[in-house]
Structure formats: C-alpha cells, structure tokens
Subunit: 362 residues, 2 copies
Amino acid sequence: MEVVYRCSRCGFIAEASTWLWRCPRCGGPLDVNIKGLKLTLSERRDMWKFSSVIPAKPLASLGEGFTPLVRPGFLRGNTYMKLEYLNPTGSFKDRGSAVAVSKAVELGAKLVIEDSSGNAGISVAAYAAATGIRARIYVPRDAPEGKKSLIRSLGAELIEAPSRAEAGRMAIESLRDGEAYLGHTWNPWFLQGTKTMAYELLDQLGHVPDAVVLPVSAGTLLLGLWIGFNELRSIGLVSRVPRLYAVQPQGFASLYEKIHGSTAGEPTRIADALRVSNPPRLGQMVDAIIGSGGDALVMTDNEILDSWKTLLRKGFIIEPSSAIALSGYLRLLNGNYLSNDREAVIVLTGNGLKYIDTMGRI
Amino acid sequence: MEVVYRCSRCGFIAEASTWLWRCPRCGGPLDVNIKGLKLTLSERRDMWKFSSVIPAKPLASLGEGFTPLVRPGFLRGNTYMKLEYLNPTGSFKDRGSAVAVSKAVELGAKLVIEDSSGNAGISVAAYAAATGIRARIYVPRDAPEGKKSLIRSLGAELIEAPSRAEAGRMAIESLRDGEAYLGHTWNPWFLQGTKTMAYELLDQLGHVPDAVVLPVSAGTLLLGLWIGFNELRSIGLVSRVPRLYAVQPQGFASLYEKIHGSTAGEPTRIADALRVSNPPRLGQMVDAIIGSGGDALVMTDNEILDSWKTLLRKGFIIEPSSAIALSGYLRLLNGNYLSNDREAVIVLTGNGLKYIDTMGRI
C-alpha cells in the first residue's frame, strides 16, 4: 500500500512517513491518499476486517466497529438505524481514534494532544491508554462533568478551556517537539478510520442504501463516509454513492449556512457534542454534500428533544446530539425530499449512558 | 422445537404455553427444556444468529449479542476479554431480557414486572419499550441515581424499595392478573438468552476456552453459560465444558459460602450490581461450578478497585462490579489454579458509562 499526504487546498504532496496534521506549505487540511487500493476481507469481526484498505496497523483494539444495524418496527420497513453508540467508548469517534492513535504511535509519538467537546476526547484518551502513550485533552469548561471525569479516569491529562474554539487554539499552541497533535477536526488519519463505516454498511446490507442521515459538526463522519463510498466506487464494488444528509443544530450550522445562507435562532443548549463553529474541512464537507446529491438541514432544540424522547421510549439509549439524525430523517420524509421507496440509514452516533445523571431533569 | 417447563426441584413438567415464573407445585425455580435441539445458523449478526436454539421469536432487537472478544496486550497471550458491556443497554442482561420480554409478549402479557439492583431493570425497561409493553421496575433506594433516572427515561414505572431483598418481595406481592413477573433471578426464559454467550464464544474462537471467569450474583450468566455449553456438548459440537469460575464480592457471596463455608469482612460498597443475598437458583449454581470443575472466589473492595483502575487505564470503560472478574482471574493465576497454558475468557459484564458521574470521586 502506497500512502501519501495530499493538501486539499494547494495540492502539496508528501510521503506519509512523518506525522503531519496540516499542510506545511499553506496550512490547509491534508488528506491521506492510497494508491493501488485493494479490498480483501480479514477474519476479524471488528472494523479491522477492512484492514487491507486502512493505512495503519491496529496497535490496540477495544472492539471498535461492526456496530449493529437494526430495522426498528416504528419506522418504515426500509429504514435502518446504525448503532454507532455501541462502539467501545460510546461514539463513532472510536473508528477514527483507533487508526489515528495507532498511526501516531507507529510514527514515534509519545504523547497525543486532542481538543474536543467531549466524545472525541474520551475516545482518544481510551486509545492512548490502550496503546500505552500519554494523552492531553483540551475541552470547553462547560462540557458535561461526566465526560470530563471519564477522560481523567482513563489516565489522560485534562485541561479546561473557556470555550470549544479556545480549546482548539490552546491545544495547538501547547504543541512541543515529539508531541503529536491528533486534533480530529484536522486529522487525515482519523478519516481513514471513520471511512470504515461505508465498507461496513455494504458488508451488512449487501448493497449501499439510497441515503444516509447523520449528525454533523466538524464533518469527521460525513467525510469518512464520502471517502469510503467513493473508494468502493473506485474499486468497482458499488455503482453509486448514497445521498448524504447532514443534520446540524441551531447556532452550529456552518455547513448548512455555507450551502443555504445564514440562519437565525437560539444556539443549541442540548446538542453539546455538535458544537464546532469553524470546521477546518468545511470546503470538503460542502463538496461531499453536493457531490452525493444530499443536503444539509438545521434543527431546533425542541425537535431534537422530541426525537431523543422518541428513541429512549423505544429502548435506544442515545445522547441528545445523536437524536438530531432522527429529526432530520423525519423532516426529509415529511417534506417529500426522501421518497417512500428509498432505503435510508439513520446513524446514531453517541451513547446516552454518558447522560444518565442529567436524564432525570428532562 | 418442543419446549416444556421442568421444575428443577420436584420434577413437575408442563407445556410452555403459558407464563410461569416458578413451579406451581413446589415453588422451586423452573427450567425450560428443549427437545430435539438442532443448531442451524441464521444470517443475522446479533445473538439471533442462534435462533434455532432459542425458544422465542425476537419481537424487537436493539442489537443484542455478538459483543467483541478481544485479546488485550497487557494479559497473557491466551487470555481473552468478552466485552459484554457493549450490549445495547450496557450489560449482558440484554441477552436475557430480549428473550424473556419477547416471550412474555408472545404469551399475552401487557405489563412486565422486574426487581433489580439496576442493570436488569434498565435492560427490561428498554426491551419492554422496544416491544411496546409497559414495565414496572422495583429497585433498592440506594441504587445509583443515574440508573434510576434511566429506567424512568425509558418509560418504565420505577418503584424504590428499602433494600434489594425488599424490592424482590414487593415486586412479587404486587402481581395482578394479566401482569407477568419477569424477575430475572427466577425467570427460566432469561437463561435461554444468556446461554447464547456459550454459542457465541464457540463461534468467535472456533473452539471453547479452558476457563471462563465471570462476576456472579444471582447466577443468570453462570447458568446461561452452563446450559449453553452443555447443549453444545449434547449436540456433539464440543467435547467438554469449560471450567466456570464465579467471582463474588464480600457480603454477597452466597455461592462461595455454599461451597466453602462462611466468610467474614465488610460487605462491598462498590460492586452494587452484584448485591443479591438469596439467589433462588443457588442449588443450580453450585451444580454448575462443581459440574464444570471450576470454583467460586470472593474479592475485597480493594481488589475490585485495583482491577477497575487497571482496566480504565487500558481504555476499557466498565463498571466496578465487572472489574471483579479480572481480580478473580489474577487470583487464579497467582495461586496456580489456572496454569499458564490454559486459555481463559474474562467476561466484562457492565458498562462504566453508567458511572461517569461518580468517577471523579475515585
């Protein structure tokens, strides 16, 4: 497997043999490009079943990937839910962390640095623990207390920042020699992990669905799916890429606004996992939405809360930010943007067990 | 598939066409016996892959079973961990609830009643929600607040009792016509769900391990494994049953005491999920331990806490009660009860995300 970094903005190319987190020439986000991609399935039953297309060796496994795909009775018969919240640390982020942390260790890092609204920090802390390297995680002060405690319990150093944006700035400024900035919103290896969900959907369904509806903040899952489905098309295993529908909360809808113009309304108070204001890969995210024939949508907190309650009352223990995908799906269906005969997958991204101390208050 | 109830104490036999939770003749625990057991694997990727040996139809699926089996680098090469905490509601209980709740609905129940220290209550509440019937759950007042909140959020009625034992008594006394007492510590269908872990271990490993080390309170997992491995032997798919090692906390070690005599020491304050004092199936539990050539062990809270920290610092987010299995494994290894060339599976039963609000205090 021949692997190179490629800058999505200026076209810079370099061998992927050292750790880079952005383009050394223009500062833009880097991609990881694989030449001679070939899919052979391994015997493993986690996401490393697809290791032939993952440009990293798994240095530790916590059981990531191969999450259940269920067809719930309360939705149309051709609608599936992908239960990504059943990943090892409770979010889809584990796909990305497993690859990015393994790669950082492979390239010599002794410490990884991450900034996160919570879930990515937990995930990176866990995979750093599993591979035996140190982690320093920057989170906004108002991240859920439980998520902060968990990051510390996993052995990582936790640093609180005044805001989500400030957490990112502080993380990058803190970088010293020998430390790897993992920053999942920038990291090109992270997307090589999240792309496995596209392979997995094909493996589980036997085909690709017509549409995938998912929560989006910095776009790490959106771009992973876009990369994965396009790889599958380039290999010749599928003939088309599903429409990708990105669902965002009010106040943190930069993708929606880039496509449709600015929005008004109170910023979300409950979708805390989706609070990213200036995603570095915004341009690529727009390309994925337009290129797939999908769209971006914005939801109010009331809509998110309704979906959260609906899913809990059906036994699906997810976090509020994840419920936004069901809200988006219902909006698409009611507005006839998704016709009844189209097969859809709703991705539920984060585990509600992280919120049981606050559930009593809803 | 021909299915009958059979009383393990007096030999009473009845067709399994109505809901019974204990022997109507002597009050002993009932078993479910299957005649003409035959294993054919279905296409499903959850525990219903083994539906040919499960005497119930899945009326709802939340993605139960097929949890990861990992071989962590910090243990001997032939030691696996079975990550049962990645089940839909965060514990192995989902295997039992999926079968028992489905069966209750099939047999006409409109409401199920459960008593639990927390995890089984969450699980039954979720599967009742998924199948669309009501649930009433009795828990001890001092169960973790988060677990109680979650049971309510899943739409179940929660009733607090002065103690775990009192929760059981109140549940049984409350029973009215048309209501099904699910009580997992008694329920014979529940064991038909937990037994799938034996089938799954064979499926994942290609053989059965030499030993399985697991936390034990009311024995629902222990007995499920015992039933499952014996079925596999009766079908002729394996030639022996693994040694089953039951690990219990101080103060709630009735199985250990039945085999080895009474113990002293402060009752556990951290293994809250294992607090069952008089398990109705104690006699069967002893038979499973003796019959498999295994043993029962008792751990102190300090040992449990050490194992909990060890596992968290390796990235495994489990609840304290689950960590006891690692403590037991280490005791067996250090005491030369488990020789180095023996393959062992440590079962991690419950998800630590339910405890993140308390983690800051350890």
